[in-house]
């Protein structure tokens, strides 16, 4: 006996993501999902970003980590609410894990939640968390082939941050090749070339994310 179905396998995740998105829109909270390979510099970027944003906004952090809370420990000094989600081996966060921890925040008193996803370029791009938008973070030391190998995340992200530009002279990273591949996949993506350790290029990023939070007022 054959039973025809035509059902999205990730319906459960999609439905919960829609609930999360709806709740955040009602509370007028922006949620940003940061996605990168391990070691691209997401936590360092968050350190720099929190240092600026906490002067003007109330920010919450969700740290996706496979087993530890080391990233969360690094962000403690900013005195912002931080929730760690340990995925226990899972390579990405999903909307159910996000939905469960949203209750830990006072959403009426937050402007934005920054989510550091688990380091991975494929899996997190498949799982909608209910975020407002995704940010892809890549680093010079990973090589220039990331857009070509992982097109989906560069297609879906609203902005890409190219980190560790200070290390450019020590690698064979071709900026031309990276730029041309990125342009083919997503000509409209906003790009910031930065060095989070030296501070190069970060002012443009701060201005952009500041604007995104200020202009977040959702139509409900």
């Amino acid at each position: 006996m054959e039973i025809k179905i035509m059902k999205n396998i990730l319906d459960r995740n999609q439905n919960k993501a829609a609930e999360v998105r709806d709740l955040l829109a009602r509370k007028n909270v922006l949620m940003v999902n940061f996605i990168s390979s391990p070691g691209a510099g997401k936590t360092t970027l968050l350190e720099c970003t929190l240092d600026k944003l906490t002067k003007n906004f109330k920010i919450g952090i969700i740290e996706g980590d496979i087993t530890t809370d080391r990233d969360a420990q690094r962000l403690k000094r900013f005195n912002v609410p931080i929730v760690v989600i340990n995925t226990e081996g899972g390579c990405h966060l999903d909307s159910h894990s996000i939905s469960k921890v949203l209750g830990c925040f006072d959403l009426d008193n937050l402007d934005a939640i920054l989510v550091e996803n688990v380091g991975n370029l494929i899996c997190p791009s498949q799982f909608d968390l209910g975020e407002t938008f995704k940010i892809a973070v890549v680093s010079i030391t990973e090589g220039d082939d990331k857009p070509e190998k992982y097109p989906m995340i560069f297609r879906e992200a609203k902005a890409v941050i190219v980190n560790k530009t200070d290390l450019l002279p020590y690698t064979n990273f071709s900026n031309d090749s990276f730029t041309s591949d990125l342009k083919k996949i997503n000509d409209r993506i906003t790009r910031f070339d930065v060095s989070c350790t030296r501070g190069d290029g970060l002012s443009g990023w701060y201005k952009w994310i500041d604007g995104e939070i200020r202009n977040r007022y959702f139509k409900t």
Binding site: M1, E2, I3, K4, I5, M6, K7, N8, I9, L10, R12, N13, G90, C91, H92, D94, N120, I122, C123, Q126, F127, P147, E148, Y150, P151, M152, R155, D181, K184, I185, N186, D187, R188
Partner: protein
Amino acid sequence: MHELRIAEDLAAIVVEIARKEDLSKVTKVCLAFGQLVQIVPDIFDSAFRITVMGSVAADAELAIEILPVKLRCRSCGNDFSLEGNLFSCAVCNSTDIDIIQGKEMFIKSIEGE
């Protein structure tokens, strides 16, 4: 790695349908994945085996179809296939492109007795 999590959700759907349809055994599960989802069929098959172990679908065969990417230009309406990761329209050069196929993760049908 995302194969395992997707296989878990699939297994839950298959077991639920088998229960509703009163099947004692699921023999085949037909799926369609868009090319952009980057599923590796062999890995997905292994992940599925783990997630259905001991269930009515333990011996089910998986038939996986990979759907190529199809795009539509939002400016001029041109439909075209993705080649060389180029998301721009060859007719009008617009980069305002919709993905009309390539992101699917569908269960199409199950067979059982």
